[in-house]
């Protein structure tokens, strides 16, 4: 028990049954939902012709350590692009949030999107808010069991589709889907699908707004990017309350003129804005951390205002400055800074991707042994060349020594190296120089014999012992 003595130690969730609403923001959110679901569920099935490699447009092939994203093949050593993408995404989030508030939460977050779909299912099976409340209150009879059961069944179906689709990104989609239902898919596919089915079902069906209020770190730290010029969903208190507060439209308070004369504002206290809220708050209490700026209360209030024939915007996108009658500044140093940082990170990432080398070569000097003195007095150093073919065609490579002129390169019996697409090979090489005046750096040159890719040159140190004339 708490020190207070009476409060329970664990708080039960207060169930929220949001009412549906129509309006421009609802339409916009459904459009985003359709787009997001379309991309997520269809992308693994999109085929893509490649000269070599799988014919799936987006495939994260972990066993082969290749990530195929349309025309781009990402090798493990390019994985820092992922960091680049994450940095750019974070900066975009900062930029948008400081400009327009929690746009991500309200429109794009998968928790919001999946919860939306789950609520659609709920409404389809159990009816509108009033019907759902009635169903909730009634005892467990056949109707309640049927409706609740069907709802949870459909939820599980959506969750399973979500979980299965996720696994399809990591293997050939048609093949894996067939194997999955034939019971022949690898264990990780089943485990991943089961785990994501469970989390989707729990998060979108049961936990819902608790994810945003208790679990999500983004929800909390986006608050620090807010300032008084940030766009928020807000209730126009001055207009809504008037001098004496909001009031229901009883007789004598039905027109704006009557209300204003009586000192009441435009808010008719219908409660629609509270009923549609997916996180169960009253927007009229001001900016709250639970608000994900889904803007459904705007649609609700606009609907009511339209019906009354009063101007829209009692609840609207605005800023704290604007509400207080001060001008809103959009181009603030913070916004410009985030925007510039975002553009810079995108430009760097794009440059890095565009300038990727089709043929990667690295040279490592052998340290064991560092050098050997040969019978004719020359010094020999050993090298390991790692060549990676990042093109989708086979390459015929020759390794030569570009500098110094007097040195001898020994590749043993290897004349040319044929390197299959997407493959890596290690070539052992030895370089020999006379100790007197030996160059301390050697330069290897890897050439494609058919000129398909530009030659690559790599430098490596050459070690000469002091006793043999080295410095």
């Amino acid at each position: 028990m708490s020190t207070g003595g009476e409060g329970a130690l664990y708080a039960k969730r207060i169930p929220i049954h949001p009412r549906s609403v129509r309006g421009r923001f609802r339409r916009l959110k459904y459009a985003v939902l359709a787009l997001a679901y379309g991309v997520y569920f269809l992308l693994p099935w999109l085929r893509w012709e490649r000269p070599a490699g799988p014919d799936q447009a987006v495939l994260f092939d972990l066993p082969a350590r290749r990530f195929y994203v349309f025309g781009l093949v990402v090798h493990p050593d390019d994985i820092f692009w992922l960091a680049g993408v994450l940095v750019a995404a974070a900066l975009l989030l900062f930029f948008v949030t400081s400009l327009a508030g929690r746009v991500f939460c309200g429109y794009f977050c998968f928790q919001t999107l999946w919860t939306d779909v789950y609520q659609l299912v709920e409404r389809l099976v159990q009816g509108e808010r009033a019907a759902r409340l009635r169903l909730e209150a009634q005892p467990w009879n056949a109707e309640k069991i049927r409706k609740k059961g069907l709802t949870h069944l459909l939820w599980l179906a959506v969750a399973f589709a979500t979980g299965l689709t996720f696994t399809l990104y990591w293997a050939d989609a048609p093949q894996l889907a067939r194997a999955f239902f034939a019971g022949a898919a690898p264990f990780p596919a089943y485990a991943t699908a089961a785990f994501l089915t469970a989390t989707t079902y729990v998060m979108a069906g049961i936990a819902r707004e608790q994810v945003c209020t208790y679990m999500c770190p983004y929800a909390r730290f986006q608050g620090v990017m807010f300032d008084r010029d940030t766009l928020i969903v807000a209730y126009d208190r001055a207009r809504g309350e008037g001098g004496k507060g909001r009031h229901r439209p009883v007789r004598g308070l039905r027109t704006r003129a009557e209300r204003h004369a009586a000192g009441h504002g435009d808010c008719v206290d219908c409660g629609y804005c509270v009923q549609v809220c997916p996180t169960g708050i009253d927007i009229r209490d001001g900016l709250q951390y639970q608000c994900i700026t889904c803007a459904l209360c705007i649609d609700a209030c606009d609907t009511v205002m339209d019906r009354l024939g009063w101007p829209r915007g009692l609840i609207r996108y605005t800023s704290e400055n604007a509400l207080a009658g001060r001008p809103t500044r959009i181009l603030r140093p913070k916004v410009l800074g985030y925007g510039a940082a975002f553009l810079l990170s995108v430009a760097l990432l794009a440059w890095s991707v565009a300038a990727r080398a089709p043929l990667e070569a690295t040279v490592i000097q052998q340290r064991q042994p560092l050098y050997v003195t040969l019978s004719d007095g020359r010094i020999q150093n050993g090298y390991e060349l790692k060549l990676v073919n990042k093109t989708e065609r086979a390459l015929e490579l020759a390794v030569r020594l570009a500098a110094p002129a007097g040195a001898e390169l020994d590749l043993g019996r290897i004349r040319t190296v044929r390197l299959a697409p997407e493959r890596m090979v290690r070539v052992l090489a030895r370089v020999r120089q006379r100790p007197e005046g030996a160059a301390r750096r050697v330069r290897f040159r890897v050439e494609e014999l058919r000129g398909r890719v530009a030659p690559v040159e790599r430098e490596a140190p050459f070690f000469v012992p002091q006793a043999a004339g080295g410095g």
Partner: protein, 310 residues
């Protein structure tokens, strides 16, 4: 953003712990959400299930082994089935993981290929090099060194281009498989101190050292004549004889006398004299009974590549 609205909206009064710091700083005493409690119960259930599935509780000197989690792997030609444990999982992983299977395929490919194929194919050569590194480290490195440079006077350098017993893959494989007996008789009793001086001078002259020409000429006569008889193994020109494992004395490489390690000519001469006086008796053991043919093949490629081979 403010908490006020939420608390009012939910109709719950805000409780505090009753403590106050700095006058007005108080701590909320909000109840934990119920789902948190259920998550906690969930971890308890998880733990109990875990006790039954995996090794968990000590019982005397033994412990509960867990059910349904047997691990079967091969050990020394036998199939071993044991309760779940990470060591057995590792054994299984080493034998049965996709990487292990791929390695086995490569190994079979290399085992079936001839030396010419392996040496001409960078892929197979690279694989053999990597695989052999471990075999070399376990078996050869104690004497020849992890870098293959050996130790002057004791163990030959494998990384240079001088091959006492031949540098072709066939010669190297024979050396590893059958072992080698390096022998040079001691001339301490057959030759006088003066004669030893002369032979040493001649030997040094072979590799371009500036020595007394008269001493060298005397030494040459001993070297090439019956007195020393050095030429039987080292040849008249001093270029050595592979069949005897006799060193080439005309090059810059010294495997027994540490000539490069002595700064003065007198020191160098003393080194050569010491070897001629005391002789050499070195043994490389035969590995055919300790390593399997594939391991010997991998080692042959490795040693060949270390110095560049012939």
């Amino acid at each position: 953003m403010s908490d006020r609205g939420a608390d009012k909206g939910r109709g719950a009064a805000v409780q505090t712990t009753g403590h106050a710091w700095d006058g007005d700083l108080q701590e909320f005493n909000n109840p934990l959400p119920r789902w948190w409690l259920w998550a906690f119960y969930g971890t308890v259930v998880f733990a109990v299930v875990y006790w039954f599935l995996y090794p968990a509780w000590p019982v005397g000197r033994d412990y509960t082994k867990g059910v349904l989690n047997r691990v079967t792997f091969q050990a020394g030609g036998e199939t071993v089935t044991t309760h779940w444990n990470t060591r057995a999982r590792l054994m299984l992983e080493l034998q049965d993981s996709p990487a292990a299977r791929r390695q086995r395929q490569y190994l079979e490919k290399v085992a079936a290929a001839g030396y010419d194929e392996i040496l001409a194919d960078p892929d197979m050569k690279g694989f053999a090099w990597s695989m052999a590194k471990g075999v070399y480290g376990d078996n050869c490195a104690p004497c020849h060194g992890s870098d293959g440079k050996g130790r002057i006077g004791l163990f030959p350098n494998l990384a240079d281009d001088a091959w006492l017993w031949g540098g072709t893959v066939e010669d190297i494989e024979t050396s590893i498989r059958e072992g080698r007996q390096g022998f040079m008789p001691a001339f301490g009793e057959a030759l006088s101190e003066r004669q030893l001086d002369d032979v040493a001078a001649f030997v040094l002259s072979l590799s371009g050292h500036e020595v007394d020409p008269e001493a060298a000429a005397r030494g040459a006569r001993i070297f090439r004549g019956e007195t020393g008889g050095c030429h039987y193994c080292h040849t008249r020109e001093g270029t050595g004889l592979k069949s005897q494992g006799a060193a080439d004395l005309t090059d810059r490489i010294w495997t027994v006398a540490d000539v490069p390690g002595r700064p003065t000519l007198a020191g160098k001469k003393e080194e050569v004299k010491r070897v001629v006086r005391d002789g050499i008796r070195r043994t490389m053991p035969a590995w055919k009974d300790r390593l399997d043919p594939v391991q010997i093949k991998l080692l042959t490629v490795y040693v060949h590549e270390l110095g560049g081979g012939r």
